[in-house]
């Protein structure tokens, strides 16, 4: 119980700290009004953000790996991360249209089947491994890993919903038997836009652009939201829409059989090794040495 509380505290503090780093343009006016000071030099901000996000990610990874000293999870994640990184490798060599990327499909399914912790690790490590093998290590990596990790972790919120809807279906409601896949596809759609939106926050305050889309310290909350939405609509909406609908198409076309395979293997992975302490004996001459 105590361990679970600590775990929850780390997830919450790391996530809130990470969100504070990413969302600072929206609450900065309140702070400036309270303190009456100017803000730090903008040139140092991207560096500081990368550092702080990196530390939040480190804390989340530490907690997510928690009791992962388990051969089954280590082997499973290693292989699934390799498969997903191979998809990204292929995507880097043959770029798809707009922001289309096949990696979120498997991250969502793994998080849904194996739980939030495995989902978080799947998302974060896919981005890490694919960056290592494609030479894509850069200051953007902590933010990418953080966000992709959350894609895999947050998918567990669908589980109670699916359970509730399945219960209604059992009672004779006219819900489709593909409802689970539709929900996952909807989730993929949402994260297609959210991922782009969050990744934009990392760079938006430092991009010089038209006045109606740029960030300027001292703007009110509503003005900041308005400017960010304008920036997002102009620069990212189409790109992210391709990513989001790509997720939907992949989940609708390949999701159901992949889900069945992952579930089958989850059952197969549910075996435990128990050391037979009494049987660990060595015959030496006529004696049995325990």
């Amino acid at each position: 119980m105590k361990s679970r509380l600590f775990s929850l505290a780390i997830y919450l503090t790391a996530t809130i700290s990470g969100m504070l780093v990413l969302l600072y343009p929206f609450f900065l006016p309140v702070i400036l009004r309270q303190t009456g000071f100017g803000m730090m030099r903008t040139g140092e901000m991207p560096l500081m953000m990368t550092f702080l996000l990196g530390l939040c990610l480190v804390a989340l990874l530490f907690e997510a790996q928690g009791q992962m000293v388990n051969t089954k999870l280590v082997a499973l994640l290693g292989i699934l991360v390799a498969i997903n990184s191979a998809l990204r490798f292929i995507e880097t060599a043959i770029p798809g249209p707009g922001g289309f990327t096949p990696i979120f499909f498997l991250i969502i399914l793994v998080g849904y089947v194996f739980g939030g912790r495995a989902g978080f690790l799947m998302g974060a490590l896919t981005l890490l491994v694919s960056a290592l093998v494609t030479g894509g290590v850069g200051p953007w990596l902590p933010a990418q890993m953080f966000t992709a990790g959350w894609v895999g972790m947050s998918v567990i919120i669908l589980r109670p919903l699916v359970t509730a809807l399945s219960a209604r279906r059992a009672q004779g409601s006219f819900l489709s038997n593909r409802m689970e896949i539709y929900l996952l596809a909807g989730f993929g759609l949402l994260w297609g836009f959210l991922y782009g939106g969050i990744m934009n926050l990392w760079q938006w305050p430092f991009i010089a652009g038209p006045q109606s889309q740029s960030y300027a310290a001292g703007m009110g909350f509503l003005a900041t939201v308005r400017h960010y939405l304008a920036f997002y609509l102009v620069t990212s909406l189409v790109w992210d829409a391709v990513a989001a609908f790509g997720n939907v198409l992949l989940l609708l076309a390949l999701g159901a059989p992949a889900l069945r395979a992952l579930r089958r293997f989850r059952h197969r992975f549910e075996f435990t090794y128990t050391p037979e302490t009494s049987a660990v004996t060595v015959r030496q001459g006529d004696k049995l040495i325990p």
């Binding site: 775990s7 780390i10 040139g43 907690e63 009791q67 390799a82 030479g135 992949a258 395979a261």
Partner: protein, 361 residues
């Protein structure tokens, strides 16, 4: 120079300087240093799998960044021409200042990309994985498995495609990916099963199930550290300056402390660990000194020239020869790589000559 941490110190120094300056003269100087290091590494035989070409990427970034800022940011007093009409975003004066600012941003981005490319060139994937702290050894094992299994996955994908092709499989719709995707996934999961059994048989993670490593102390360190990070960040944004930074640093130290505490419980052995040679120490020292010269507030007369703003009227960027000389310290890894490749070439020539002489005899 083969010690990964020496390369990391060089990278940190380069990125820090690139992030704090907007002076195009210094940016060009650093970019030249980074390119020299990269070219020296290539000469000494380093190879990378990066699918990007730095030159093409740099050209695109500089072009797009300059054009985007010039066409959409209409500040500045040196007007080059005016886009007529009421086109959203575009209409208005196009100024020289906006072009220079866009070009400067492009230089920063190119410099950051180039320095990471150099790191990818200098270190192998194995060496990059060895940088993962000891506390994260399960994640390091996962990463190692993934990196090792990746070429096999790509080979399997090719084999499955060929096998399906022989059976007359054609790719028309998205669902036609299913006969390729499912064998790849199921084959991978079967492999994971075998790997898990093999690892268990060899005693990997043979601790009691459910045993929490490190106990509660490192987790308390982490929680307090994260809270301090958040407080320090808000204080820093609110203009608390040094105090905010001090809170952030103490939070970071607590997090690192927690990880160190945990890492001690997972001793790591390696077949061959790269030692620290004099070149590594010298490079690390020089990188730290260059970074300190650029960021220390007490050296402001020198590092003040790092700050430059082309708005509202374009002027020549300031340049301190002393700071420029200091930045040339970032060339050091390239100089070492260059000497190494020259030495190797001379050595090879001498050996060839010797063997040629023996044949003649």
């Amino acid at each position: 120079m083969k010690q990964p941490w020496a390369w990391v110190s060089w990278l940190i120094a380069t990125i820090v300087i690139l992030s704090i300056t907007r002076n195009p003269l210094y940016l060009l100087l650093i970019l030249m240093c980074v390119i020299f290091v990269g070219m020296s590494l290539r000469q000494s035989g380093a190879e990378t799998v990066s699918p990007y070409s730095l030159w093409k990427l740099a050209a695109w970034i500089l072009l797009l960044s300059t054009a985007f800022n010039a066409l959409t940011s209409h500040y500045g007093q040196t007007v080059l021409f005016t886009i007529p009409g009421k086109l959203p975003l575009l209409s208005g004066p196009v100024t020289m200042e906006a072009m220079v600012y866009g070009f400067t941003n492009g230089l920063v981005l190119t410099g950051i990309l180039a320095s990471f490319m150099v790191l990818n060139l200098a270190l192998t994937v194995r060496e990059l994985i060895s940088l993962i702290p000891q506390a994260f050894f399960p994640l390091a094992v996962v990463t190692s498995i993934a990196v090792t299994y990746l070429p096999t996955t790509l080979r399997q994908f090719r084999q499955i495609r060929e096998a399906q092709g022989i059976r007359g499989h054609q790719m028309r719709t998205l669902r036609d990916w299913l006969p390729l995707w499912m064998p790849l996934l199921v084959g991978g999961l079967e492999h994971a099963m075998q790997l898990a059994e093999a690892m268990t048989a060899r005693g990997f993670a043979s601790t009691r199930p459910g045993e929490q490593r490190g106990g509660i102390t490192p987790r308390i360190f982490l929680i307090i550290g994260l809270v301090l990070l958040a407080i320090g960040w808000i204080a820093q944004l609110g203009g608390a300056g040094v105090y905010g930074l001090a809170i952030i640093v103490s939070g970071a130290l607590l997090i690192f402390g927690g990880l160190w505490f945990l890492g001690r419980e997972s001793p790591r052995t390696s077949y061959h660990s790269p030692g620290w040679g004099w070149q590594d120490w010298l490079n690390m020292l020089v990188s730290l000194v260059v970074m300190a010269i650029c960021i220390l507030p007490m050296l402001e007369p020198i590092n003040q020239t790092l700050f430059y703003d082309p708005y509202p009227t374009l002027s020549l960027p300031p340049f301190s020869p002393l700071l420029g000389m200091a930045m040339l310290g970032l060339l050091l890894p390239g100089v070492f790589a260059h000497f190494k490749s020259t030495h190797e070439k001379l050595d090879l020539k001498a050996r060839r000559r010797a063997s040629h002489g023996r044949t003649e005899v």
